[in-house]
């Protein structure tokens, strides 16, 4: 079961929401739509579900053009961010609603609902009305309703947005297995990059009325298309420093606090241009004084997070740099310290356009030969 969107355009009154969005999702794949609020993620889901119509473009589901196909005929399951449970029906009736539409017999309906409810651990509250359910139970009911008819296409609109942190954590672990068992094609909307990385086979990053980049979580994290995306993924956010690459002894170097840092091969074209150096906090390591290539910094504060410790340091030019290291590993105390850059993980962006500059492998090869 595939979904494919071709040049979708949608606007509300004069506000453009989607401007020429194309996308395709393969059978069994989970695609995460990730982006800030207002990027059009929810609108895209609603277009696929058929409750709103695009101004232009085509929506194909498994080779069928959805133009003019009513939402009830699209065979889609959808969970809403605000749950959208039917307030006058109990949880059972809510979950069973896709089955009543498909005219299932009472016994089949009961069996199916019980099964989904058990799976989602809400079988004990099936006869409660939505207002008697906790937020977590509401969320699970909404999910159960989306799953009940075993739709081959599932649209999940930030289903974990309105539940508490603990439940969100549990569900983040549970959901991938659940979605895998369904063997459904899933489009999952979220604003949480960790959720996106944990759940998506691929991630589509949306902003400015369109899709900025589509790729595997690894792709997006290690090879973000531009500064904006690099900033959206990663916590703490990537360090961004203005630099102007120069020719060094062994290739391209950038100067940080008068310390030349050797870049990986392939950045010759950037020499003399205005760039932004992107350094993930984990691409920086504290080293003892005197290590070659180390940058001197002042350590300002240190914040222990769950699995890592984040250090805020100032360079000689008073630029802030975040450094993270595995929790428990030794680090500097306040005061002077030295940082070594893992040049292999350093990213370069064009300062004007913000686009990432990919190292040219062709040139690199030639140099190796030479």
């Amino acid at each position: 079961m595939t979904i494919s969107l071709k040049n979708i355009e949608k606007s509300f009154k004069t506000d453009t929401v989607l401007d020429g969005v194309s996308l395709s999702v393969d059978t069994g794949e989970t695609l995460v739509l990730f982006g800030p609020s207002g990027a059009g993620k929810t609108v895209l889901l609603r277009l696929i579900a058929g409750v709103i119509e695009p101004e232009a473009g085509e929506i194909w589901v498994n080779g069928v053009n959805m133009d003019g196909v009513e939402p009830e005929d699209r065979g889609i399951g959808m969970a809403f961010q605000n749950f959208a449970l039917f307030p006058h029906m109990d949880a059972f009736a809510n979950i069973a609603s896709p089955l009543t539409a498909r005219r299932q017999s009472k016994s089949v309906m009961r069996q199916t609902v019980d099964q989904v409810a058990k799976l989602l651990k809400i079988d004990h509250v099936l006869h409660h009305k939505p207002k008697e359910l906790s937020n977590g139970q509401k969320q699970r009911t909404a999910l159960a309703r989306a799953l009940a008819a075993q739709p081959s296409i599932l649209l999940l609109d930030d289903p974990l947005r309105n539940v508490d942190a603990k439940l969100r954590f549990e569900m983040r672990l549970e959901l991938p297995r659940l979605l895998k068992d369904q063997n459904a094609t899933v489009i999952y909307v979220t604003q949480d990059y960790k959720e996106a990385m944990a759940l998506g086979h691929r991630i589509a990053v949306m902003s400015n009325h369109g899709i900025q980049q589509i790729g595997t979580p690894e792709d997006i994290y290690l090879r973000p298309a531009n500064i904006e995306i690099a900033r959206l993924f990663g916590d703490p956010v990537i360090n961004l420093l203005s630099v102007r690459p120069e020719r060094g002894a062994n290739g391209v170097v950038v100067n940080l606090s008068d310390t030349p840092i050797e870049m990986a091969a392939g950045f010759e074209a950037t020499i003399g241009t205005d760039c932004v150096l992107g350094l993930r906090p984990e691409a920086l390591h504290f080293v003892p004084e005197g290590t070659p290539g180390a940058i001197p910094v002042e350590v300002e504060t240190e914040t222990p997070l769950n699995e890592k410790t984040v250090t805020l340091a100032l360079t000689a030019r008073k630029r802030e740099i975040m450094v993270s290291r595995p929790a428990g590993s030794p680090g500097p105390s306040r005061g002077r310290a030295y940082l070594l850059v893992d040049a292999g993980q350093a990213l370069l962006f064009d300062r004007e356009s913000g686009a990432r500059i990919a190292p040219s492998t062709h040139n690199g090869l030639q140099e190796d030969v030479a």
Partner: protein, 285 residues
């Protein structure tokens, strides 16, 4: 909190008492009058001490009124029946026509929807006689003069705008996602309307129905112009009754009591929605 001095509290109490006196007195007085005979009514000075009698009500219900001029047959119960029939039928038809339209205006923002909704609303504010006077002539030609059907049609002028605007507000208050969810679950437009929108807007529809019933019941000018005696509701009938019954004032009072009792009962029942209805859905009570 603000502290209130004893003097202020006394003044407030006094003011509230005066207000109640002014607004309640006529109703109480008419109510008492309806249990009196002409002799006790005509006593000077008037007194609240009298032997209550149900004669007035009995005469109204049997339709046989004794007057100085002899036995008079006035079928006031027929007026009551007309009021009931006209109001109930108008409201039923108004709901049937108005609720789907209200849903269309609330949910499906279509071309010209606002203009149409406002045109309907503006009927509420036009002078009724402007329409009624030419209508008398048309009704003669169409054979609708002095028919229940004709009256019920014209009553839609009172009932429809009210239902449309109140129910529309209730439909708008239902989150669209709830209806979307039902559609996506596989139900078509009509069953979504029936199983989701209608039940969730239920209280609003009931309120609109009750209120428009009250307004239809209280209407005077439509029936005055378009109906003759056998089709007239109580508002018009009572007026004719005053002149016809000679000096049996207790019976007039009893007639008034019977005519206002139903709306009072409904108003008490629907008081939660009155503010909303009276402001055509603008102000929530």
């Amino acid at each position: 909190m603000l502290t209130t001095s004893p003097i202020e509290r006394i003044l407030r109490g006094l003011a509230i008492t005066l207000v109640c006196l002014f607004f309640m007195f006529p109703i109480v007085w008419i109510f008492l009058m309806s249990f009196q005979t002409n002799e006790t009514i005509l006593r000077i000075p008037p007194s609240v001490v009298f032997a209550p009698t149900l004669d007035n009500y009995q005469a109204l219900i049997t339709g046989k009124l004794e007057t100085a001029a002899g036995m008079l047959e006035i079928n006031f119960m027929r007026n009551l029946g007309n009021s009931l029939f006209l109001s109930a039928t108008s409201v039923a038809i108004g709901l049937l026509l108005g609720v789907p339209a209200a849903y269309a205006f609330a949910r499906l923002k279509f071309k010209g929807s606002e203009d149409i909704a406002f045109t309907l609303l503006s009927f509420r504010f036009a002078p009724p006689l402007l329409v009624l006077l030419p209508l008398t002539i048309y009704f003669q030609q169409l054979g609708l003069a002095n028919t229940y059907g004709g009256l019920i049609w014209v009553y839609q002028l009172i009932v429809l705008p009210l239902i449309l605007w109140i129910v529309r507000g209730y439909f708008e208050d239902i989150p669209a996602d709830i209806e979307y969810a039902y559609r996506i679950a596989g139900h078509d437009f009509w069953s979504t309307f029936r199983r989701i929108a209608l039940p969730l807007a239920g209280p609003g529809i009931a309120a609109a129905g009750l209120l428009s019933f009250i307004f239809a019941w209280n209407n005077f000018v439509f029936a005055l112009v378009l109906a003759s005696a056998d089709k007239q509701p109580v508002t018009v009938g009572a007026l004719a009754f005053v002149t016809a019954s000679g000096i049996q004032y207790g019976q007039v009072a009893a007639g008034i009591v019977l005519s206002i009792a139903p709306t009072f009962a409904l108003a008490l029942y629907a008081q939660r929605y009155l503010v909303e209805g009276l402001s055509l859905g603008a102000v929530k009570g």
